[in-house]
């Protein structure tokens, strides 16, 4: 595959003389998007290509994008499922804006994704699906393959269904079963184009279909057929090679955000030496955390699939009362249902982790799309003054560290901690430098074991606090002599007995706030390479990648810009005010309508300007690059 029309090659090369057809060309980075019907196995295909890239040592980032319907009507636009993968020979920050290669398994997949391609991109289509009926389903009068619409691209027309059926005929599968292997044909072809290693995929297929050897064999045959098709067909004249990336030394693996989050929770249990109890109710895109945690019972992890969101968090809080690390996982609508129980945890002052994998809202919204519009809900979505700590991972791998941090804060300060991941972080993947478990933070806590009443009465008072952290003594049931009652009613500090006294309530409200305000969080680093930038771009959560990539591009264009990112949203880092004040302009890109910007303006009296998008998809580096460049050059936002 070569840039025959003299435009962009199917990979972004730094330079390079024309090479012979049998010598792979070098590219620094490539963005591939696999798109097909939701039943075509595009997520699996993308996932396998990702594993191949990871095994090869590329840096990578991925973006799955699929419909909320399990099987939307076949061949329609709403049924299109895609998986985008960006891999490179250097450290990259995003899944990429515009694909260099689109694999379109049917007309709907072509139509839905064509607009995202830039001129010169490569398009590989499965021509067998371009039937009159399928074209009509998506409103094509004539086949786009025969029109000028695709002139801007290098198009490879491959009869994937038929070639696949031919390749697997010997296995004796039915035609329908045989055709289902066509995604592996596509994977084989792309693997050849980008000189990917293939052994792992063959092994994976044999393991995945271990119980159905016939199906396993067919998938391997289809995969090989795709590879051979590339090698023997003249239309694919050139292959590309993306060298391994030079990342910090160590052992790497690929993780999605939800996997890293689950590992962080398991890790927190191990490092705190507490049993982990996850109370959860199935909800997209958080369910995978429940599924993953359910596999790790050997680590003392109990998973409880509750009757509803409220029961999930209630059971977690009950477990915390009993001395476990109580955790609940959910998405925005579920967080709304859990509000009252989180408020109870604030009043009880017990550790509780609440993980909200944000999705598009309001209401059911966009279950499978990403958004970061639950920030204010996390901070303020409860009755009364109900402060909690709030953290947000900035990338899939960061979910591990954030989960450990959330556990540290919850256990140290006896407080609920809200962790705000999102759909893009949860389902996206990237390489993760596997940590040495001995270097993970020590999260052990000590339970109260004796009377603590400051009046020397020999009683146990549940609200006696550590003077530094303001954390109350945590006495678990079963501890003799420390029997006590806690509840949602206002209480007197120290003794913990119910109090309706006006001054006491005022003091308790402020005390709970002081405790959260006093949570120790690290300073926020600022990336300002020249030290001369006048514009600061500040984000939080999953926008870290696109903002970082945009800043690189802005700097590449010869301009100066500073980047900082908030992982701690409550309390905010101690140096945040100082950082904000140090720049002439502060730009806050968010996938909501300006929630963080509003907080910054009210708390720091800074003229922070919002750049917002709520389209259900992550920011693109290119759009942020343009926005930020304009701001650096003096435009108002």
């Amino acid at each position: 595959m070569v840039a025959t029309n003299g435009q962009r090659p199917a990979g972004q090369a730094e330079s390079g003389p024309d090479e012979q057809a049998d010598t792979p060309r070098k590219a620094n980075r490539v963005v591939i998007r696999f798109a097909g019907d939701s039943g075509d196995g595009m997520q699996l295909t993308g996932d396998r290509f990702t594993s191949e890239a990871a095994a090869f040592g590329n840096d990578l980032a991925t973006l799955p994008n699929y419909p909320a319907e399990i099987r939307a009507p076949a061949g329609t636009l709403p049924g299109v499922s895609s998986f985008q993968l960006h891999f490179a020979d250097y450290d990259i920050l995003t899944p990429g804006d515009r694909p260099d290669v689109l694999v379109a398994m049917n007309p709907a997949a072509l139509k839905a994704n064509l607009g995202d391609l830039s001129d010169g991109a490569t398009v590989v289509v499965n021509t067998d699906e371009f039937t009159k009926r399928n074209l009509k389903k998506v409103g094509y009068e004539t086949s786009p393959l025969d029109s000028a619409e695709l002139d801007r691209f290098t198009v490879h027309r491959v009869a994937m269904s038929e070639l696949t059926k031919g390749a697997v005929a010997e296995t004796g599968l039915t035609r329908k079963e045989a055709e289902r292997c066509k995604n592996m044909f596509a994977l084989g072809l792309l693997s050849w184009m980008y000189s990917r290693p293939t052994e792992d995929t063959e092994r994976f297929l044999r393991e995945k279909f271990a119980g159905k050897p016939q199906v396993a064999e067919a998938n391997v045959l289809a995969f090989r057929a795709g590879w051979n098709y590339g090698e023997t067909t003249e239309s694919f004249a050139v292959t590309y090679e993306v060298a391994a990336a030079s990342l910090p030394e160590g052992t790497y693996r690929q993780v999605t955000g939800n996997l890293a989050l689950a590992y962080g929770l398991v890790g927190a249990g191990q490092r705190s030496e507490l049993p982990v109890f996850l109370g959860s109710y199935p909800i997209t895109p958080a369910s995978d955390v429940l599924h993953e945690m359910a596999k790790h019972k050997n680590f003392g992890v109990t998973t409880f699939q509750a009757e509803d969101e409220i029961a999930g968090v209630g059971a977690a809080l009950g477990a915390s009362f009993g001395g476990s690390l109580g955790v609940t996982t959910t998405s925005g609508p579920g967080l709304a249902l859990k509000s009252e129980t989180i408020g109870l945890a604030v009043a009880l002052e017990l550790p509780l982790l609440v993980c909200d994998i944000q999705r598009g809202g309001p209401s059911t919204g966009l279950p499978t799309k990403t958004e970061q519009a639950d920030l204010l809900q996390a901070l303020y979505g409860r009755n009364g003054e109900s402060p909690v700590a709030v953290l947000a991972p900035r990338s899939p791998a960061d979910c591990f560290d954030i989960a450990m941090e959330a556990a540290r804060i919850a256990l140290t300060y006896r407080t609920p901690v809200l962790l705000l991941s999102d759909g893009a972080t949860a389902n996206g993947s990237e390489p993760w430098l596997v940590p040495d478990v001995n270097e993970l933070p020590d999260l052990r806590v000590s339970f109260a074991s004796e009377a603590n009443a400051p009046d020397g009465s020999g009683e146990f008072w549940p609200y006696v606090r550590d003077p530094e952290t303001l954390a109350r003594d945590w006495a678990v049931p079963g501890t003799p002599g420390l029997e006590h009652r806690v509840g949602g009613l206002e209480k007197v500090d120290g003794k913990g007995s119910i109090s309706y006294d006006p001054d006491n309530h005022d003091e308790m409200v402020r005390l709970r706030q002081r405790k959260i305000d006093g949570v120790e969080v690290p300073e926020m680093p600022v990336d300002d390479p020249s030290g001369r930038a006048r514009v600061l771009v500040l984000g939080w959560g999953s926008s870290y990648g696109p903002i970082g990539a945009a800043c690189r591009r802005v700097r590449h264009r010869g301009m100066e810009i500073a980047q900082a990112h908030l992982r701690y949203l409550n309390p905010m880092p101690p140096n945040l005010g100082e950082v904000l004040a140090a720049y002439d302009r502060v730009i806050v890109p968010e996938m909501n309508t300006g929630q963080l910007a509003m907080l910054l303006r009210s708390r720091y009296l800074v003229d922070a300007r919002s750049y917002t998008k709520v389209a259900g998809l992550p920011f693109q580096a290119e759009e942020l690059e343009n926005v930020l460049s304009d701001v650096v050059q003096g435009s108002e936002l």
Partner: protein
């Protein structure tokens, strides 16, 4: 039904014994009891405080969890561990606690509003799962703490602040509901009958799994006299059926003894003993796996209290949620000792 999976059958099997002889006083907290004078809750509190010492278990391993409502103040008055939580959610908290702590004797105190209205979902699921907890449902057929609105067990037509023209809601029969929710232990008792109340609590505590005890309880302020017919000596004798496992169901005054028989449609009916043969009497079997017998008994009488069936309707042994969940954990740890480094590293790595 008895399913032997090697799990204990005693509800308190894993709860440590008390090292000392305890009395009701040991279970009494320093909090002043603040229910209205004449409230039925006092009698239940006294019965619970009075009977807990006989269980012989450690006081510190006893936990009372409540939701919101008059009855929800209960934990404050017990010198044990306790939590006064939020409306309707006590069964969820108790589920998390009991699942992670087999060494605790966990009680849920709820009412007809807390347990059957706002918390109805949690109640039925706790019963279905058979978590090892004991649920005391104080049924006074009214909302007390919010000052007198009708509840899910109020009589149809009842005039309250929120139903000035009379309630048009159909009430729940809590025992029928619990049986429908697969509860393994279901009983009913009265606040005014200390001996029966205590006997029922004892059976509930000994049961391993979710036990539901409905307690008819008088609210002297907003629904006074709802159960007065069961306090009047003659009426009580005429109406009250006390179930005893493996015994024919008979009741009533000497001169007019009655029994429960099955009519030609297979339904349970009350009949005068003088008019039926002894062999026609239905014998109570609380251990039947099939719930239809217990359910039929729960439909006998019901809202109008004539007759009123009390005692243990059903008590079957089936594996508890928490025993099975914990068994899965220990089995997993045995088969695959935890190795965090191995987990984090996984099988597909590359080194740079």
């Amino acid at each position: 039904m008895t399913t032997d999976l090697g799990f204990p059958t005693d509800g308190l099997a894993e709860v440590p014994a008390s090292g000392e002889e305890l009395s009701a006083k040991d279970f009494t907290s320093d909090q002043e009891v603040r229910w209205c004078p004449g409230c039925g809750d006092y009698a239940v509190l006294a019965a619970v405080r009075g009977f807990l010492p006989e269980l012989g278990i450690a006081r510190e391993n006893t936990v009372f969890v409540s939701g919101i409502g008059c009855s929800a103040r209960f934990p404050y008055y017990m010198n044990t561990y306790g939590m006064h939580s939020i409306h309707g959610r006590a069964p969820t908290i108790a589920t998390g606690l009991a699942t992670t702590r087999p060494d605790l004797n966990v009680w849920v105190v709820t009412g007809d509003g807390d347990g059957l209205s706002i918390g109805g979902n949690h109640l039925v699921h706790a019963l279905r799962r058979n978590v090892n907890i004991t649920i005391l449902l104080f049924n006074n057929r009214i909302y007390g703490l919010t000052k007198g609105q009708y509840s899910p067990t109020s009589d149809q037509g009842m005039v309250t602040k929120s139903t000035p023209a009379g309630s048009v809601d159909t009430p729940f029969n809590p025992v029928s509901l619990a049986l429908g929710a697969e509860a393994s232990f279901v009983a009913r008792t009265l606040d005014s009958d200390r001996a029966h109340l205590t006997e029922t609590l004892r059976a509930a505590a000994a049961h391993r799994g979710s036990s539901l005890v409905e307690i008819y309880q008088n609210c002297p302020i907003f629904n006074d006299g709802a159960f007065d017919v069961l306090k009047d000596k003659d009426e009580k004798q005429r109406r009250l059926i006390q179930l005893h496992h493996d015994q024919p169901i008979t009741f009533g005054p000497e001169h007019e003894r009655c029994g429960v028989v099955r009519d030609e449609n297979g339904e349970l009916q009350v009949a005068k003993l003088s008019e039926v043969d002894e062999h026609e009497l239905v014998t109570h079997d609380a251990h039947r796996d099939d719930t239809s017998h217990a359910f039929a008994l729960s439909r006998l009488g019901g809202q109008h209290l004539d007759p009123t069936v009390t005692g243990v309707f059903r008590q079957v042994s089936r594996p508890t949620y928490d025993d099975q969940a914990r068994a899965q954990l220990s089995e997993a740890a045995e088969q695959k000792p935890p190795d965090l480094q191995k987990l984090l590293t996984g099988n597909n790595t590359w080194t740079i």
